[in-house]
Each structure stands twice: as structure tokens, then as C-alpha cells.
Symmetry: C2
Subunit: 253 residues, 2 copies
Amino acid sequence: MGTTQLETVPEPKYWHLRTVLSEALDSEFTVGEILPNERDLAARFGVARATLRQALEQLELEGRLQRRRGVGTTVAPPRVGVAVGTGQHAWPGMQGDDRQPVDCTLATPPAAVAAALETARDEAVHIVRSTRTTHGQAIAAELLYVPQASVPDLSAIDAPSGPARARAVLRGLQRLELEGRDSAVELGSARADDAKELDRLPGAPVLVVTTRFLAAGRTAALSVATYRADTCRLTFGASGGVEIQDGPQRQAS
Amino acid sequence: MGTTQLETVPEPKYWHLRTVLSEALDSEFTVGEILPNERDLAARFGVARATLRQALEQLELEGRLQRRRGVGTTVAPPRVGVAVGTGQHAWPGMQGDDRQPVDCTLATPPAAVAAALETARDEAVHIVRSTRTTHGQAIAAELLYVPQASVPDLSAIDAPSGPARARAVLRGLQRLELEGRDSAVELGSARADDAKELDRLPGAPVLVVTTRFLAAGRTAALSVATYRADTCRLTFGASGGVEIQDGPQRQAS
């Protein structure tokens, strides 16, 4: 990366620097490569450290860079496409589902979850905790809230706790006919327990996907899944979806 | 909000403060209310300014707070649910679509878009620029890339440019039978032009939705839409979707 002085441009300086850096990442760096330190980079581009840092933050938001403690800033691999909305008629835990159930508890859900499930405010529901992993790395932590009424035949004796219990709840759900599901995606910040599971710091940006599973005319289960926003793009759609090669940020910029 | 000293907790201090603040927002503040200044808030909770700022940043990520220049930090209204994946068989611009076409140009798209559209690298495509607004506020800026082959009957004479041209391209698309579409959502940062349209600063976190529209066995159009991440939750699903009252961050915390 040679010395490149930024000319005066109408857009903010850090934004222009982001574009210049983005092109440099494409042409001069390989995935996993460690970037020069901030002082050197700032000097090369003739900008203040603060401007450089803003540009690096943008590129981190866009998934182009990763900052890791003790390593520095590295060039990130392309984001992984994770199917979220496909299989409209599959319950969690069905064949082909890559969720790993890790635990199951019986507890009172948050008020808004109880409202969505139409359970009484103090009614305990099964809470199945799962993770999704890709290439050995956890990409999502999911809580699935299941009213006891949705799995009436569940036996406490067979599987009192842990992954076995979680699987028993999922098997119970699969006895219901799934009528449909809908999802919402929004930006959030990782809660402490999710952050730990996802190898992120608490408060890191995440994509939170809420999914309602509908059976017998009501919400039979509600899932709140937290996806790493740095490494994931969430894919929706019934057409099976050939992956678009690059992320839209690269396409559009 | 009284004086509340934070006790020692295993999670990071700013994260615990975020939870305490979040509860205070629910119980003591109303939407639109301006928060006390940072110095006062830090003193009340017995934390350093830096800790307070980190907690405020989390709550901004989660859409609980808005920071506006010259106003200060205010309590944000609940996020607006915006349907993104419904109407699997509707083209953009069909009846009931809330997109407002603002412009249309003929230009060479970014390389990744050309690859997805299977057009030649230097082939110009129609680029329809639209906005989506809710309650008078722009929530999304969209670029729809349409190969000339998808709208062969388009007349340059009828509508040479601007919104009229954009509508002519959309009408042309609607003559094709839409076979399906798929979408991907990922975190991004607002480009300068989108940021202006969305009343955000360049680099603000946004949700970028890429949608492929399939007709005659190929990608007939590709849309890259930038949604405000602070005010929007994107909803997907065929079931029509009753809105879940609160965002999942409130549900899960």
C-alpha cells in the first residue's frame, strides 16, 4: 500500500478513506492478513488517527475487517450466508437443521414473549437453548420458548434436563402440524451470555431474528436468535437461493 | 431516576448499567423525552463517563435511544416493522407497494451485480432508485438493477428520465412472470448518498437487504436496499404476520 494523499472531496474524509481502504483491501491484501498498525496507516494516507479509526470502524461494520485482541486488525473472510427463512414448513430440530440443542429449562419468559405466546404472565414455559455453528465456529445463539401446552406429552422422567431434555421438547413440537412461520430481523447488541457463546464482547452488534411458529391457529413456539453481525448474512426465500457471490456493500460501493 | 450505585457484578460494568438504564427507560421515561446530560447521569449511577457512554451506545444500537445533534439523547419510539419478504409473487412497484421511484439511470453496475445478473461486465443496466417512507420519514433507499433484456419493450421516448422513467421500467418488469425471489440481510454502513436520503450520518449502521427477482429461470432484477437500522425491524414471512409487540431485545432482556 503506497503513500496516497487524500484529495479534498465533498463527502466526509473518513468516508472517502473507507472507500480507498476498501479498494486497497481488495487489491493488495489477502484474507487473514494483519493490517499495518494505526500510526503507520494514518501516516501513509495522510490522515489523523481519529479519521483512520472511523474508517476502520466502518469497514468492521461492513464485515471487511476484524479486530481481535492480541492479534490486531485482520482482513475478514467473506460473510457466510446463513439460511434463516427457508424450510417454511420445518420445525427447529428437524432433519437437515444445523441447530445444536445445548440446554432446556422451565421458566417464566419475559413479558413480551408471554404476550406473543398468549400464556399467562407467571406461566413457566420450556426454554430450549441452541447454537448454530458453521465451520466449527458458533454463529448464532438461540432461545426457543415453547408453552407447556404445545408439548403436552412431554415426560419429565425420560429426560430431566440438558441436551436430552431439549431434544425431547423439539420432538414434542414436531408432533404438531406447522402452519407457517414469520420472522423479523433487527439490529441489537449481544447480551453477556450470548456474547460469550459467540466469542464476542458483550454489546457487539448482532442481528436478532425473532420467529413465530404457528400451529393450530396460534403461536406454538417463539424463537429469539442472536447472529454474529460481523460474519453472517442472513438469507431468506423459498427458491433455495444460489448464493450471491459478494455482499451488497461490495456490490454497491 | 434516583441515585443508584452499581454493585459488583460478573458482567462488564457498562453492560450491567445498560440493563439498569433500560429498566429506567421503561419505568420512568416516555418516548421522545430528553435524557439528563452525561455528567448528571454518570453521577447518578456512580460510574465513569466512559462507562456511561458505552452503555448509551448499546441502547442506541438496540434502538432504545436516539442521539440527535442539537437535541441530545432522547428515548426512541418502538421500531417500525417493515415488511420485506412478504408478497413473494409481487414485483416492486405493484399495487400496495410503498416504494416511491425517484430516478432512473442507465449505467454499468458494480461487478458483483453484473455477475448476479449474468450481464456482460461493461453492459449498462437500468438503475431505478426508490425510497420507502413511513409516517413521512424515509426508512429505506433502494437501488433496483434491471438488465435491458428484462424490459425489451421500453421506449426511451415516452419517459426519458426521472420518476416517470423509473415507473416505465417497473411497468416493463411487471410484464414478466415472477417465479420467486430470495433475499439476504446483513449489517452495513450507510453510503454518503443513502445517508443523506435517510437523514443519517455517512457510516451509520444500516441493514442492507439484497433481493433477487427470478423470472424465466434467471435473475431478472436485483435490488440492494439500505434500511435505517435504528428505527426499522424487517419482517419476513408468508403468514401475513401479526406484529410482535416489542422488539426481541426487550423480550429477551
